[in-house]
């Protein structure tokens, strides 16, 4: 994997132009829309992606989620890293 899809604690992940998180009324679910792609986003993915605004750092997002969901920070960090690196490999998140 190239450097561009490695998350670091100071990465400021964001959805690039051309990738949109959308609540679809017809299907009643959250979807991540990208060129020729539609990915269903579960509640955890939505919580993570809504915080990827290009301003908050990776560490800040993890802290925020751990606090919001009263969850173990290590576990949250692993989840966030896995999701973002997976999406970055698909060029659906910029790190």
């Amino acid at each position: 994997m190239s450097e561009e899809s490695q998350t670091t604690s100071v990465s400021r992940p964001r959805l690039p132009r051309g990738v949109r998180l959308k609540h679809d009324e017809t299907r009643g679910e959250w979807l991540l829309l990208a060129p020729e792609r539609v990915i269903k986003a579960d509640a955890i993915a939505v919580a993570i992606l809504q915080r990827c605004d290009g301003i908050a750092t990776f560490d800040a997002i993890v802290d925020d989620l751990a606090a919001a969901f009263s969850a173990d920070r290590g576990r949250v960090e692993a989840d966030v890293r896995a999701l973002l690196e997976n999406l970055a490999a698909k060029r659906m998140v910029d790190l």
């Binding site: 994997m1 190239s2 450097e3 561009e4 899809s5 690039p16 132009r17 051309g18 990738v19 949109r20 959308k22 679809d24 017809t26 299907r27 979807l31 829309l33 060129p35 020729e36 539609v38 970055a88 490999a89 698909k90 060029r91």
Partner: protein
Amino acid sequence: MSADAKKIPTPVGLLAELTHRCPLGCPYCSNPLALEPRADELDTASWKDIFSQAAALGVLHAHFSGGEPAARRDLVEIVAHCAKVGLYTNLITSGVGLTQALVKELADAGLDHAQLSIQDSEAESADRIAGYSGAFARKRAAAEWITQAGLPLTVNAVIHRANVARAGKMVEFAVALGARRVEVAHTQYYGWAMINRAALMPTAAQAEAAIAEVEALRKTYAGVIVIDHVIPDYHARYPKACMGGWGKRGLNVTPSGKALPCHAAETIPGLEFWNVREHSLEDIWFNSAAFNAFRGTDWMREPCRSCERKTIDYGGCRCQALTLAGDAREADPVCHLSPYHAKVAEIGEVAAGSKEIDCEPAYVYRRVKLPEPAE
């Protein structure tokens, strides 16, 4: 909506052929041989209404295609409308006909993504394939305008005999153009590609080498460019789930407003295609006979009917079944289980058997009027 209609999935994408006008003459064009004239094109208000209906129906992606969609003077207005009704907007362009100002206007109107076609990684060959001198240079410029406007770029490359040796080079070229995604699609033989099949089809060995080259680049460019690879039908064992299943994921609307389950569906005799001028999109999607003709699996014959893959590939492509087996209800002959599969293999072997593969074969270029047959 009837109870039956509830089982029919919501369409994901609408591909709008805004016009069949196009400056290029690519011999593999997927448009029908009988191109629709400008006088028959839907007007701006009609397209806006169709996209509003599409959004209400649950369509997510709006694809602007053609022909060259930039040939429509109302393109910006249509894009802005789609953005307003919440559709994800995708411009599928040859790049010829775009200007830097137009690209900026489209970006400002809310365009989400642009897909630019390239014919080859080398200018001379690319222009020859497109039948348009200078196309290659204009596409380079278009790519720059698109990325400068902050729009994500996909490069689309259709592979055939004249460029099959440079499949990997075209991926590298896409990276150099700043694309985040590249589609490498081996030619599918419908419409113009069908009449040019003998000039377009590479040998199996050429196709396999190209596939291996492109697959190897996935690792090289992981995280840099996403490679979507459409491998050639004629050398495969199983067919593709054309359109992801008939009437399942998307629909096409032609310049004059005919709604089609796929761009080649008009080649199938006996199907009546409703027009958006006379029927709502919802009515067409759920109730028209053409959209229900090959939905699901009830229409299937053997070998599809009892096949475990029937909900994976839905029997493949109906148009290809028609072309190669003579009946759209047959299994796609690309499938090795089809009784007509030998015919596909034979066509593949004819290409492979050509002693000298001409890399500059003569084409029937896509033009408004199909040339009269030579005989």
